[in-house]
Chain length 428, copies 2
Amino acid sequence: MKANELTAVQASRAIANGTLTSEALVSACLERIAQREDAVQAWAFIDPAIALAQARAADAERAKDGVRSPLHGIPVGIKDVIDTYDMPTQYGSPIYAGHRPAADAACVSLIRELGGVILGKTVSTEFATRHPNKTRNPHSPLHTPGGSSSGSGASVADCMVPLALGTQTSSSIIRPAAYCGAVGYKPTFGLINRAGLKFLSESLDTLGVLSRTVADAALLTEGLTGLSLDATPTLVAPRIGLCRTPWWDKADAATQALIESSAARFAAAGAKVSAVSLEPAFDRMNEIQIAFSSYEFYRALTHERTRHPGLISPSLTARLAAGGTVTRAAYEAAQADTRHCMALMARYFDACDIMLAPSTQGEAPGIEGTGEPTFGLMWTQLGLPCITVPAGKGPGGLPLGVQLIAAAGNDAGLMRAAAWVERMLAAG
Amino acid sequence: MKANELTAVQASRAIANGTLTSEALVSACLERIAQREDAVQAWAFIDPAIALAQARAADAERAKDGVRSPLHGIPVGIKDVIDTYDMPTQYGSPIYAGHRPAADAACVSLIRELGGVILGKTVSTEFATRHPNKTRNPHSPLHTPGGSSSGSGASVADCMVPLALGTQTSSSIIRPAAYCGAVGYKPTFGLINRAGLKFLSESLDTLGVLSRTVADAALLTEGLTGLSLDATPTLVAPRIGLCRTPWWDKADAATQALIESSAARFAAAGAKVSAVSLEPAFDRMNEIQIAFSSYEFYRALTHERTRHPGLISPSLTARLAAGGTVTRAAYEAAQADTRHCMALMARYFDACDIMLAPSTQGEAPGIEGTGEPTFGLMWTQLGLPCITVPAGKGPGGLPLGVQLIAAAGNDAGLMRAAAWVERMLAAG
């Protein structure tokens, strides 16, 4: 196995026991990128010299003394809506071509403090909204990697890097991870510090991790938060609520079949599976998310929409215009509806450890868009932790994922159950 | 009356009816600053040419067509932890000497969009924490203006500008406003969009307004949020809960007497005043705020503490070190305690419209510090809207204020009651 194909957990162990250096690992990642970047275009910025200098510094530090963080020497890709002081940060927009922030975002400097290597900046759609950027699905150049964490999903799935940071406001971690065949983990709202993130919707924007395994996502999150996430599969099978959601008929036949067959497989493996039928109050959560987030987009991007309107895509321009028509009263009504549904949702989790739902409507569509966020909106609006786990391929030959969701704050329970699900799906 | 002494509401009316131009108003503010800045040192950056160009542009726009926002042509000071694209933004720290952000913060560009004039940047303490900067209390050069919104409080109180933006994480709007004899309004957490604010504690940092009247604070907040805040004094006297708080014995005799006599005066004017006795759960809210915020400070300022430790003050260095020892478990326990107290607090507001409490321990102390945040911590931790209204002077001849607090989201009720209190105190 080439070093770039190792998971972060495997690489971390190999570095710790002296059979791998950070320099060798980073070199292998850079070699993979050199081979594949023309086809995948996952990177907004990468400079091998900057990456290798960090890897050599990590190796030199380790030689000096002993015990290190598990992230020490491990390369991480950083979505380009997150500030880095030593690499351009362009927020997926021509308005910020060549922009150099004065400081690292908190999450970036925390990774550096733990000895992690900032490999480069991964491509984001325009301000982490829906207008596509240059990245292609690593499984097919004619298909989107999904958005908005397009480069994070594609680079991780293509073994260019074991870990990448992403952000989700609607479905921007879950969707690209599922389309690319990766794990995508959006924590409970607020878990990872957001200082230095370009805000789109401050009430929803959530930092998270894209990786190839559940344990890898846990590794990076533990380093950033101090939270203990035991991603060892539970011995006891989780209680699973099968949640078809109010948008079930928007999922294609293969996705519906995948969710149903996964539930059956989990039940056969000992999980207690029951159907969750959400009250009618949840039917409007997707439209509420769109109005609520649009109100915040309009405000957060005031500088850009007033000073650089000609450099904003037509689709984002339309979204911003719609945001300008959302009244304060409508926004506050959306907040109140959200709080109501958060309280209702907490009760469903008395009867199950996690819910199982579609990650996307189906396989990745073409490169003219980034796919629909349908199956991410409600969970994000409610601030719940969710994760997508790869679940084979659809009829078109592209990856599909299954999404798991836990109660707010139960990230540890989500990761344990996700590790169990991951093992069951791998065994299938 | 000189134009710089007009309230924002008065100036806005005068501009609307053609008896004042923005250029004349801004010129009067600049003249006052030229006279007083050597003594007060409220400004981190001011360039008369940049300010006057905006004022002339506002006047020219108004000449072209008619109806305008009430903020059109009105100058606003911006605390220097808030990004501006055309003025340096230094976050009160030598680390950022000469720093030029690529974009305006949302609140700044929203003011510009409404035709407001960004007059200059007001002095902040170091990253809006407690280490003092150069500003002096406008009532006495030997006394602190308070922090962290030091320049916003001093400039507004000294009639250098009618309105200024501030931020509060602990007591950073209430304290400087009270010490300087100004109105300071910290809205419900999250009311004013924070994109482009330098984060210290993302769960607590709240944008707000310093001004000389309650109606002026409402004027700017309405423009930034679309919220309707009717700051006309209520005809019906509010129901007032006298909340001595668990820290009553830290208030000096003059402050205790002020709160008691104010309550008596409000009762005599028809307000239903009752004492609020908080349950023991609230006794720990101040220590909880300190541990909770320290955990977030440590993460938010990772870039600065790891790359520029020599440029951080000893007091902030100590605070950050303490933050590094707060475990995730302790942080989550603080979150849970806070949620518990938020729910308890909501019930107290069934019996009163607002609470009355001290704004500070007493008058402004000397310039070696910025005073104690004691009477701001709990309300900020609970996310509640609060406002300080000037209430005469203490035995040392420096200003005192009284603080009013409302239920989360009841900013409109707070402002109405505050306008009533302001009128009663003026009548006294």
